[in-house]
Each structure stands twice: as C-alpha cells, then as structure tokens.
Assembly symmetry: C2
Homo-oligomer: 927 residues x 2
C-alpha cells in the first residue's frame, strides 16, 4: 500500500487512451478541417483524454476582488469555519446566497465569505470526485471572465464499473438477422417503404437494418461478450456523459456550488442533426429519432417521437375534419330549418331580446347566423366527435406500441426506472442544479427555497396544510376573470341595444364578441405564466418524497391550473351561456341590472366556435412561436451584452473560445415540461370541443409541423446540451393524455346534446313532425308571448318599430302558450327534449367509452414483430450461454486424465472448478 | 477429450453432495422418526441425491402385453420407423393417441406401435435431459402397475447455471436492519400488532423481522456475495423444482410422452401448512402467505394473498351493508309512502292488472310489498352504492400496494415476466402436460387438438372466421333460456289469476317467484359448465401466439360467458320487467297471448332482491362448496378403485408406497382459473347490484372465510403439488376486476334511478309536493282510468267483486287523466321524472368515477416504507460494490512497486488488469 491518496491518477498526467471524437461513420459530413476545429476544447490539455462532462461555476471578477478574497480567506477563516461547523451540526448546507453578479457587487465584504466558502466546498467535492476515479482538469483562466470550468474525464475502468452498476444494455458481438416477414405483408411493406422513401431523413442508420446486435446488460465479468476492440467508441458520448452525471449525483459533499454543467461534444452528429432534423426545409420528412436519441438521450428522444406520432396522427384527423366542415358548407342550402328562417314569406315577429331598450324583430334577421351555425351543427359533427374519441384511443394505443418498439430498439427492455423509488437526493447534485443565471432571480429564489426544504422532507414532516385552499383560490381567480369578461360583454351589448342603427349594431356585436375573445386570450396568456409559478411554489410546499413524485406533482398542478385557465371561458359559452335567460317579460337579471347573456338564434355553437378558434390560434401563435423563438433570442442577446460589458477584447476572444465556453452562453436546458404542456393543452383543443370546431385538428397539424422543427432548432442550437436521461415512457404525460381523452368524451356528449340543436331536431322529427320531415321545426321550437302580458316598464319603447301593431310575438323556448291553463311555464316538449338530451349523453358517453376500451383491448400493446424478436433474442441468448457453458465443460474435461471413466470424475471437478471463482473478486486477475 | 457422452455423471454413481431434506428450523414439528419416514422416496437409490422433480408415464401392464410388445418391436419396426420419418418430414409430432387404459385394451395390436414409439421418444428425451446436466433415475418396477417414474436430480452446477439464466434473486450474505419507524406511528403500530397477535398464524417467519438479507440476481461470478456454506439449502425445494421445470420446458425432442410430473417433497412444511393454514379451526387468523409461497410458489401465493385481502376488505363492506339494512328495518314504520298505502282510510280502488280475468283491487293489499320494498329502497341504499363503488376502488388500490409489498418481500422487484413475449412453446413440455387421466377423456381430446393446433400457429395462419358468431350464439342461448323462464313465470301467473281464492293466489305467487329463481339458478349452473368448455374450444380455434395470451383469451371468454349467464336474469328483472306493460284497457301483449310481466306495487326491487339472493347463495353453496369438496373426493375414489382392480396385494403395497407413488393418485393441478373465476363472479354480486341487496357483502364474507380454508385444504391435500411459478401480479384478473367495478357504477346508477322509487320521490318532494313532505306521493304516482273506456272483452268478468260499482280506478303510471284533451298519453310529470332519472344517472356515474379516480390517485401504488426500503437497499448495494471495487484497487496497488509515484501507474495497471478478463471465459479457472 502506497497510501490511499495516491491510488488515483493525477489529472496532469497523460492517460494511455486515445480518444477519436466520434465513430468514423458519423463524421462523413464534416471536412477534416471542420473536424479538427470542432474537436477543439473537447480534450484535456494532453489532447488525449476526452472531456465527458463540464461543470461551470461563477468566480469573482479577478480585477475587482481577487486580492480581497485572498485577504478575507485568512481574516475570516475562523468565522467561516465556525459557520461551517454550525451548519454541519444542523445537518444541512447553509441556504444558498445570492451570487456575485454586478447588481450586488457593493456588498463586497459579505460576498467574500461566500466566495471563500464556495471555493472550499468545491475543492472538497472535487476531491470526492477524484476518489470515485474521475479525472478532473480545471480551467479557471478562461477568456470568459467570472466563469470557471471543471472538465471531467471518466477513465475506462470507471465507465465499466458504472455501466455495470447502471445495468446498461450494450450491444454484444453476437449479430443476428432480423427476419423480414414474407408473403403479402412483406410486399406491401416494401411498397410502402418505397413510397415513403422521400419522407425519410438522409440518415443512414434509419434504413432497413437486416442485422441487429444482441444486447446484454454490461458486466465486467462478461466482457468477452462485447466488442471492446475500440474502447473509445464503445460508450458513446451521451452514455459517457450520463455515466459521469450518475457519479456526480451519487457523490456526497457537505457543500459545493457549481452551476449545472454543460455537456460537450456537439460536433458531426450535431451537423447531421442540424441538416436533417432542425431545419424547416425537411418539414415533410420523418424525424431521425435514432440520432436524436443518440445525441440527447432517451427522454428527449421519446418526446420527439411522441410529438412526431401525434403530428402524424393529426393528418387523418384533420382530413376528416375538413371533410366534415366541407359537408357542412355543401349542405347549408339544403338545411330545412335555416331555409325556413331565411324564407321571406315565413316572416315571424320575434319578441324583444331585452326589456325596454330592445325592439321586436323579424326572424329573417337571424338568417345569417342560422346558416353559419349549420356549418358546425349538422349530423356529420356527431359522427366527427365519435370519430375523434376513437382517434384519441387509437393514438394512445399507437403510442404505447411505438414506445414499446423504441424501447426494444434502444435496448431499454428490462431496464427498470429506479427513480420510482429514489428519494429526492440531497447530494451535491441537487445543489449543483442551482441555476446561476443573473437574469433569472425569481427561479433562483424558488430553487434555494427548494434546496432548503429538501432537507425538511427527510425529517418526514407532514405536508403543510392549506394547499387545497390555495389551489381553489387560483381556480377562483380564473372564474372571477371569466366572469369579468362576461360582464364586459353584457354591458357593451346592453349599450349597443340602445343604439338605433341596425347595421352598426350587428357589426359592433361581432366586434364585441371578437374583442371579448381577445381579452380572454390575453388573460389566459398572462395567467398561464403566473400559474406555472404558483404550481411550482405549491409543490415545494407539499414536500414530495422523491424527485419523480416532485416532478409529477408539479406537472399535475400546472396542468390543472393551465387547463382550467384555457377552457373556462369556452365551457361557459358552451354550457352556461343562454341557459337561464328567463322569458320575454321576465328576463333574469344578475345584480339587478345585468341580464344573463343570450345566444343568437340557432344556438351558441357559432360563438363557441369563434372563441375556440381565437383562443387556440392565438395561444399557438403568440405563446408557442413568439415566446419560444423570441424570448430565448432575447435572453441570449442580454447574456451576450452583459458579458461584453465585462471584457474588452471581445472580438478576438470570441474566435478563440473553446466550445464549452461558447456553450456557456446558451440557455440552460429547463426540462421538457413546457413542451409537453403546450402540446397537451393543444390536445385538449383538438379533442374536447371538436364537436363544435372540426377544423381544430387541421390548425393543430399546421402548428405542429412548425413546432417540431422549432423545438429541434431550439434543442440543437439554443440550449446547452442536456444530460442524456434514460426513460422508458413519457411518464405522467400519458396519464394526463388519457385524462383529457376521457373528459373529451363527456364534454363532446354535452356539446352535441345541449349546445347544438341536434337532439331537438331529432325529437321533432320522430315525435312531433306530421310528415317525418324537418318542416315546421323552427315553428315548433318557438313559443308564443302575448304582448299584453308585458309588465309595466318592460315593454319595448318603440312598439311600432316594425311598422305594425304587434299582438303576439314568438321567442325560442319550450313554454306553454298564453292560452293554456298554466301560461309560460315549461311545456311537456321541454321535458321530453331534456330527457332525450340526457339519454343521448348517457348513451354517447358509455358507447364511446366502451368503443375506446375495445380499441384499447384489440390493439396489442406490443407489436407482433417486436414480440417475436424479443423472443428470438431470448432464445439466442440462452443458446449463446449454453455454448459457452459447454465450452467450459469441454475445457475441463480435456484437462482431466483420460482413464475411460472420465464421466465419473465430473462431480469433483465441478466442485474444484468453482472454488477459484469464490475468491476471484479479491484478485480479479491472476498476476 | 474423452468423448462428449462421458461429460456428465452417471446416475448410478454417488455424487459428493449431502442432501438433508429441509433447513433444520422447519423440521421442528416432526419427530425424527416421522422425518425419516417422510424422506422415504425423496432420494435417489444412493440415498444422497435429492429428487427434485418426478415425471410419470403410463406403461402397458407387464402381464398382458410384454411379450406382445417384444415381438411387435421387431416385426413392425420398419413401419414404425417410416411412420416416424413421415412425421418428421411434416415437421411435427404425430397427434397424441389414446393411451393404454383398460377400455381400449382390445386394440392391443395398434397400441403396441405407440407403446414402442413412446418408449423410443422417452429415451431420446431422457438423453437430452442428461445432456443438459440433469441426473435421472428410472423406477419402472414400482408397486403401482402401469405407471413408470423418472426421478430427476439437478446437481449443483446445473442449479447455479439455471439460476443465473433465470436471474433469480437470492439472498446475499449482507444483512441489514429494517428500520422500525419511530414516534407516534411506531407506537400505534406496536399497539395494533399486540391487538392482532392472536390473529397471526403460529409461524415464526411471519413475525417482525428486524433484519433482512439483501438480495441480488444470482450469478456464478458473484458467488462470493452469497452464503453458500450449505449448498443443499441454498436453493429450496420449490426453486429446485422450478429450475428443473425450466430445463424441461427448454429441452427439445421430436416426440416424447410423459404425464405431467409431480413435485415431491411435501413434508414438514406440509405439516405446518396443514396445521396453520389448511384447517377450519384457524379461520379467524391471517394466512401464512410466506409459507404458502415457499411451498407453492409466487403465483399461488399471490392468489391466496389476494383472496385474503378481498375477504378482509369485505368486513367493513358487510358491516356497512348490515347497518344500511338495519336502517331500512328501523325506518319502515316512518316511511310515509308505505304508511299511506297501508292506511285503512286511504282506500283507493285499483284497476285490474290483466284483461278480463283480473279484478279491481284495493291498494291496501299491496301494503306488505310496499313495506318490504322500503328495506331495500331508502336513501341509505344510495349512500351504500356510492360507498361500495369507492370500496371497490379502495380494494384495487390496496391490492396494488399489497402486491408491491409482496413483490418486495419475495424479491421479485426487477424480475420481468418473460412470458409476455414467449411464443407458445412447441417443445416437449407442452406434450408432457397432456393429462393421462382415463376419467377425463374429453379434456384429453381438447388438449390433443390443442397440441396439433399449436403447430399451425407457427405457420402464422389468420384466425379462423366465425368466432364472433359462435360467441353471439352462446349469448343468444343464454337470452333464450332467460326468456323461457320468463314465459314460465308469465304463464303460471296467468293461470293463477284464473283461480279465485285470494290466499292461495298470493301464496302461490311467491312460490312461482321462488321456483322461477331456482330454475334460473339450475340453468346457470349447467350453462356455466358448458360455457367453460365452449370458451376453451373457441380459444383453441383462435390460435393465440403466446402461452400467456392463450390463457388470457381463454379467461376473458369464459368470464364473458359466465358473467352474462349469471347476470342476465337479474338484469332483466332490474331494467326490463314492468317497463312496457301498457295501461289498463290496452295492456301490451307478446305473441298475442302472453302479457308483459309487471312488478308489484313499489317497484321491482323486491323481486330483484329475491332473485339476487337465491342466485348468489345457491351458486356459492352448490357450485363452490358441493362441487369443490364433493367432486375431487369422488374422483379420488374412482381412481383408487380403478387401480385396486388392477392389482391384488393392494393392502401391503399401500403401506410401502413411495411418496411419489401416493402422490400419483392425487388430482393434477388444473390452474388457478376456476378459483379466480368463482371469486370474480362473486365480486360481481357484491358490487353490481349492491344498491338493491346490501347484504351481499355479508354473504360473500361468510362464504370466503370457508373458501380460503377449503382451497387451502384442496391445494395441500387433494392436488399434486404444482410447479412453483413466478408471477409479479395476478395478470388479467386485475383488469377484469377493474372492468366489473366500472360496470358496477353504471348498473348501480341505473338501479337507483330506474328500479327504485328514489327519483320519483325526490321529484315529487321538490317539484310537486304542496308542503315539501312526502304526503300525497302515492296519489301523485297513480293515474286515473275511467271504467267506461274499457274496450269490449277487456273489462273484468266480475265488476262487482269489491262489493260496489267502480266508475274510476287508479293505476301506477304517469299518464293524463280521462278528462284531459289527450287522455291516457304520458303526462308532463312522466317526462320530468324521466329527465330527473337520466340526469341522476349522468351525475352519479361521473361523480363516482371521478371519486374512484381520485382514490386511485391519492393512494400511492407503492407503500411508503417499501419505497424507502428499496431505496435503502439500492444504496447498500452500491456501497457493497464500491467497497469491493476499492478492495480490488488496493490489492492491485499493493502489488505494484511503491516508488512514490504509485498513483501515476494506475492507468497501465487498469489496462493490464482487464486483459485476463477478456479471455477468462475460455479457462474460467486457471489450473
């Protein structure tokens, strides 16, 4: 023993390994020159050891405080130490303090304690990392002032050890042929492949592979199974980075501060991704998911695979949607109810829509709305909403299959997500995650609070009370705002009714609807941001036990708040508006002066449609595209300007910057949550109210085609490369999608039966129509009102507005006529129609749910070919091992004396054979 | 090399291993003498090698045909061989033929081909088994004529190899303390433990274990991790048997015939199980699930754990059920509607219930039914059905948690069920499974057909058409039979109405109801058996791809058929009976002479309740207990008598029989499907119509307390010990339970709103009642009928039956009175009540489903302590490995020259260290 501190290799000494950056076949697209340039900064000073991971941290500007720090180190040492001891006694690191950014530079003195303390912690942490076998190289004298880099290299033995711990499945030497199916299926397959040829990205690996490497969990004892001829490419850069990250997560320290490291090695793969994926010019192609996964890891790969499948599935949905819409357009002239309304002879006098200020009007005036309503309210809509419910079920099933296929292709079968049970780690890495962006103060504060709270959770305190009230308050705020917008609309409408010019009136009414929708949209956008923050805060208060559960709770809360926010106004219009309006002569009032809103003749479907399209398009255009493109650009600019202020020889420096230094100016990766959230809200628009807006899938499709490439660009060029995370599935998002799909069935049932006139038409046709046709439907839906029943002050100011004396007017409702025993109470038809509506809801909901379940049950979760291949792999693996076993046996037999009774000696040999094994761990190799 | 055939040890030579039967702590309950007796027959002839598995096969009776066979072997050899070649060319084994049982002894000649062929195949198969390293001992000269036994022993190296392949998790040497929670929780826990002390079975291992062995997937390279000091007890008998079974399944042969082997070693564990589990005297105790699992394997262990949890969960359900029932009893005298009906002053004349034959009657006559109905139709019932829906959700969640806990305790975490992807094996073992019971011809035929069809599936033919028609036909038969019973009831009732004696009439009416229910029950019982067979046949036709999918499809089909069978009559009574009866003067008729059945005044709930209780109790008593106890006893007797006929010195032989010979007379294990099926149908009774029968959980509880011990007795004493199968969950049964729970919500919603009078009462109270009370409800639900509106021939024969001239009579329906403009059409109240009923269904269904989802979401799937322990185990495992790694490193360092720069030499060492590894597989030990 030469002392335990000398066990591990010093960083300054060269290792014996050579590290060509990437496997050669991926370097095709780069010229040799580019290649060298690209590799600049990706190796340690010795040019041999590859940088697998980089940690960055902030240091005080050397000009202003280096001397300060030196002095403070000695003067304040005792204090710092006692502070440290104090916190150690408390068993938690001191809460993170604001770090040295220009704004607080005046508090120089107090800062220095922290600077010093941080340096001490860093050194401790780095020591621990070296103990784990990692090799580090520090690079404090970079051209970027205020930023220090620690480059990390994982030597081969660490990689092997960790790969074994992580049970990484690696390709073995054994290669087998993936059998192509034969017969008709194969021919169809070939044809389809040929047809979709131009849709595939120009990436070699995507094409029909006929051979596949058998994969097996890596273990050093089974090294002979793997092709280790090229050790540097055996673990690819993504895997190396995630191995280092795994070690970082596990490494204990009392206190250490690093900014999250960025992940180097964005080169030829990067180039390929940039050309074949993150470009608008390839929007019509499939995504090179395999490459994405290779570069970003499984978790991000799954997101893009999901997004791709969703977009693909939107194509048939939008096709059918467009057909349904066109069917509406084509049949608008054959629609008997709107024909009757528009017919000049059928000139029914309608009752005033409000007390006093409104006048009698002619049904003919509603002709336009009635015709427009037909576009969204026809039998095809019912079909379409059933179709979309099944579409959603199909989508889920297809995703399960796609996921299974990817799991197989990415060798994740058998990998168990361990995070399920992992406690939220209080190790260094949770502190390392603290973002040091000076532009993002708020986030920092929240995360500091989280870091503190993380310790509380280990003492297992009960979750603080008052979470439900807060959430309820949020939802209350949403409702209040929706109500505010309703009041706005009511009061403007009321004001309008005062005006006498009919043309301005109808124009302005449309304007009011539109402005109200836009106000709603703006409110939604603002609240979305607020709610995201609130959800985060709430989850921190809840102190969940594991990282995964933290993430899931956060997502769930954010989702609920954003969902309520996005859909409350729409739900109001669909189900509550125009329901409780009273009748002419006794309209209902809220707060004594505001009348309940009424829908135009022909149902609220038209307005629902306007609201939906404005909200959806607006959200997509503004939130997704403007925010997603604009804000990162802006942030990058700010960061660039800030760093420019600090240094002077900016221009020359820029050119000589190491890759990891330029990467430092990129936005850090903030997780996939916003991307998924955006998509799931869109999924809500596509499925929830599809009965009233069949074009929603089309809009979603158009948005997503851009979205994929936009996200790709962002991931490739705008963000620091995130650590590759393994994941088998998309986690809670799948459950949320299922939830949305379930709610969609119920909401569509209600939209069809209550918002549209579908059920009243059916009831009329089969119960009341004299000839089984729709003729007379309009008349049937309108009740009579005797003008003499107006109470004082409620009759119209100008009763002769239409030019004649009105004695009886009509209004849309099922009520008894004035001449019945019980005038103006709801009639038998009302109850019959209501019963029919409710029955429809029950039937629709249960039938569609049953059909979804059947779809779920009929489509197997594992594609047939994959299950066959998994089976085949298993057999091959058993064969491989059996052959190996027999090899061993024969070897033993050849060693024993051949006395003719050789078989009898078998048992003692087997025993002696196993003895060296038992101790082999202490001297793994026998030299 | 001494030739490959000499590699494996000859069975006749002693191995070096000693095999005490079981680990000593389990032998406490046996005296040494018993122990020796018990071990008799559990070892090979040498008395050292333990028997791990036994295969049995039928041989011709030596007396009758040994000489025959000898001759035929030579004369027909060419033919036999050509036959063999022919089948080999077809690539499949010849279909199994009927085997040598006494009935076909006359076909001696043709039998001999098969005898001969079978012997040839057996020898081939046995050779293959020896090649796999198993050691066999044949025992043809047993005292049981006609049966041969092959005893199999798996030597240590085979056990190790297979355990490694199967990735069996075994306990390592590393022991850690399971931390008891501290604080209030711990105190409560201790108290609860003390209180439930007498409920625990007297089995040591069940008690609070404070230490647990860390488990790790067994691998020969990591042997040092495991405590191998006692090799014979390292793998317990269950594991050894399942390892041998694994090898058997994998072993290829062209053709071989064995009856399914039985699994020996039923001794002291057996004794303990018999006393502490399979006994009625311990009915109040928890089950020793750990022991059950140890003896029978995880799959059967899970079944009993599930059954235990279900029974436990039934306790609160039946308590609440009884309270609800008692509430009904207590409030029957305060129930205003039944008081009004029974009140002598309130003497309403009712219209005749049928044309011509029936008379006017007094409402008072319905007093008894009305009071009885209240027992099952009161507000508490609504509460109870919501409670039961949530109970079902809770049960599911609890089961998930229990399952997770068992997975953890049984070291199944990380074990992936491989069968998911396994193709249905066409290896020998599927042929071995062919049951040779002469008493079960039909089963044999089906299974032969299956064996043939299994080959077809590999050629991947499309499933044959016509499956849906057959299933539909089955369901059609059920409906037809239900309809037949209805007709029986209608006609008897019609005949009864002819009778004039009112007392016999009411008595006989009850009798009719009861006999009809009994007929239904008998039909259900018979069809149940038929449908089980049909489902099997259908599934064979469908040719599913994997064993698991075969089982799942079979279960699903059987379930659907049995479910429809059990619940069709009940659903008829609940939802269809008395719905479309017409009105006095124009009753509806089917087939022109049979009137639609009507319910008694007060709803059909009473009759539903009678039907439910008879079906449920009858099914449980007859099907479960009589069939389950009686039939196996009978079968055993028959088998015993048959074998007695064959031999003469029965009595002496009996005493000297080896254990495996006595086991041969036990019934083979037929799978858990019937047990689960029985329970899931019972779960249906408990949840589906619970709104109308709150005592169902109580009856189920009583049945299950017996059922657990009954099943236990059966498994321990009546059946051959099945091969231990690993399983992580209860598979498709969980999904079926979920399905039943879902359907239950909908059905209960309909029962409450349509079958009971709950909604009409509510509607009356809030819409029509003058004083908000229930007074006048009875009057409100009855319409008027003017006697003069009777058509000719429909008026009662005896209009003066009541002693006075009736002018106006009443009937229960919402119809317009004779004096309205539209007499006798359904009234506005009808539609209002209908709308209310439908609205209730929607609200109930969605609220309860939402609440179930919330329960599902709130209760975490993994119990907190388990997730903490899993996390802790993971950390310990990493620590263990890291220590090992450091041990290696230090060893290496101590080998290198200590020149002060020791740390620098690290890299080259690491390289050289790994080289021997790479080749170590060819010479695993270096001697």
């Amino acid at each position: 023993m030469c002392g335990s501190s000398s066990v591990y290799q010093n960083k300054s000494l060269p290792s014996l390994m050579h590290s060509p950056l990437l496997s050669p076949q991926l370097l095709n697209s780069l010229t040799p020159e580019e290649n060298t340039q690209c590799q600049h900064g990706l190796y340690f000073q010795d040019g041999e050891r590859r940088v697998d991971y980089i940690l960055t941290y902030h240091i005080k500007k050397p000009s202003s405080s280096r001397s300060n720090r030196q002095s403070s180190r000695f003067t304040d040492n005792a204090f710092t130490r006692s502070l440290r001891r104090g916190t150690a006694r408390l068993g938690r690191p001191p809460p993170p303090q604001p770090r040295g950014d220009p704004e607080v530079a005046s508090q120089d003195h107090s800062m220095d304690y922290h600077e010093d303390d941080k340096r001490y912690r860093r050194e401790e942490f780095e020591g621990n990392l070296r103990d784990m076998g990692l090799e580090l190289e520090k690079d404090e004298d970079t051209k970027t002032p205020g930023v220090g880099f620690v480059k990390i290299h994982a030597p081969w033995h660490v990689l092997c050890r960790e790969a074994e711990f992580m049970k990484l499945k690696m390709p073995t030497k054994k290669v087998y042929e993936v059998k192509q199916c034969s017969g008709v299926g194969a021919k169809i397959n070939t044809l389809v492949n040929k047809a979709t040829e131009p849709l595939h990205p120009n990436v070699e690996e995507n094409r029909g592979q006929h051979v596949k490497h058998l994969s097996y969990a890596f273990s050093r004892e089974k090294q002979h199974l793997f092709d280790l001829s090229d050790r540097d490419s055996f673990f690819d850069s993504k895997t190396r980075a995630s191995i280092v990250f795994e070690v970082l997560k596990r490494t204990k320290c009392t206190k250490a501060k690093y900014s999250m490291g960025n992940n180097p090695l964005r080169c030829s793969l990067f180039q390929l991704l940039y050309e074949e994926w993150a470009s608008y010019s390839v929007f019509y192609k499939y995504q090179p998911i395999g490459l994405v996964r290779k570069y970003f890891g499984e978790k991000i790969g799954l997101y893009f695979a999901w997004l791709g499948l969703y977009t693909q599935m939107l194509i048939p949905a939008s096709l059918v949607g467009v057909i349904v819409f066109l069917y509406g357009c084509a049949t608008v002239d054959n629609n008997i109810p709107s024909m009757e309304i528009c017919h000049p002879r059928n000139n029914i006098t309608m009752c005033p829509l409000c007390d006093r200020a409104c006048n009698y009007w002619k049904l003919k005036e509603a002709c336009g709305t009635a015709r427009a309503s037909h576009l969204f309210d026809n039998p095809a809509t019912v079909f379409f909403s059933i179709f979309m419910a099944l579409w959603a079920a199909m989508f889920m099933e297809h995703w399960k299959r796609r996921q299974m296929r990817l799991n197989y292709e990415w060798d994740l079968t058998g990998f168990e997500e361990e995070e399920v049970s992992a406690l939220r780690s209080v190790s260094c890495i949770s502190l390392l995650f603290v973002s040091e962006e000076p532009t993002n103060k708020w986030k920092q504060t929240v995360q500091s609070a989280m870091a503190g709270l993380k310790l509380v959770l280990l003492v297992s305190s009960p979750p603080p009370p008052g979470l439900i009230p807060v959430t309820s308050f949020q939802i209350g705020v949403t409702f209040a705002i929706v109500f505010g917008v309703i009041l706005y609309r009511i009061s403007i409408t009321a004001a309008l009714h005062m005006s006498n010019n009919p043309t301005t009136r109808s124009n302005v009414r449309l304007m009011v609807k539109t402005t109200a929708a836009i106000i709603n949209l703006v409110v939604i956008l603002i609240l979305d941001e607020v709610y995201g923050a609130v959800a985060r805060w709430l989850t921190v208060l809840e102190v969940p036990k594991t990282d995964r559960s933290f993430e899931e709770r956060l997502i769930f809360k954010t989702f609920v708040l954003k969902f309520v926010n996005a859909f409350t106004p729409i739900i109001y219009i669909a189900f509550f508006r125009g329901r409780l309006v009273g009748r002419p002569g006794s309209y209902l009032y809220v707060f004594e002066s505001y009348r309940m809103e009424e829908c135009a003749h022909g149902g609220c479907l038209m307005e629902l449609c306007i609201q939906l399209s404005i909200t959806m398009l607006g959200k997509q255009l503004i939130q997704n595209n403007l925010f997603e493109i604009g804000i990162p650009k802006l942030k990058k600019l700010i960061r660039y300007i800030k760093s420019k202020r600090r240094s002077f020889q900016e221009e020359e420096r820029e050119k000589k910057l190491q890759r990891y230094e330029t990467d430092h100016f990129l936005e850090p990766f903030a997780g996939l949550t916003p991307e998924y959230m955006e998509m799931i809200i869109q999924f809500g628009f596509v499925t929830l109210f599809v009965a009233s807006f069949p074009l929603a899938p089309l809009f979603a499709l158009l948005n997503n085609i851009i979205e994929i490439r936009l996200d790709a660009k962002k991931f490739v060029a705008e963000l620091r490369r995130p650590v590759a995370a393994r994941a088998k599935d998309i986690g809670i998002w799948y459950n949320l999608l299922r939830g949305v799909a379930k709610v969609a069935v119920i909401i569509n049932a209600f939209v069809i039966s209550f918002t549209s006139d579908f059920i009243p038409r059916l009831v009329y046709q089969y119960m009341y129509s004299p000839d089984g046709s729709m003729h007379g439907f309009v008349n049937h839906t309108m009740s009579y009102f005797n003008v003499s029943d107006f109470q004082d002050g409620k009759e119209p100011m100008d009763p002769h507005h239409l030019g004649y004396q009105v004695e009886m007017c009509r209004y849309k409702d099922y009520r008894e006529p004035p001449w019945s025993n019980t005038p103006y109470v709801v009639s038998k038809e009302f109850w019959a129609v209501l019963a029919a509506r409710l029955a429809f809801v029950i039937v629709f909901q249960n039938v569609v749910m049953l059909m979804s379940d059947i779809v779920d049950w009929l489509i197997p979760d594992i594609p047939k070919d994959i299950s066959l291949q998994i089976h085949k792999e298993k057999i091959l693996m058993v064969e491989l091992f059996m052959k190996e076993e027999q090899g061993k046996m024969q070897f033993i037999d050849s060693m024993t004396p051949c006395d003719g009774k050789g078989r009898n000696n078998h048992a003692p040999i087997a025993r002696s054979r196993s003895i060296p094994h038992t101790h082999s761990h202490t001297h793994a190799n026998n030299f």
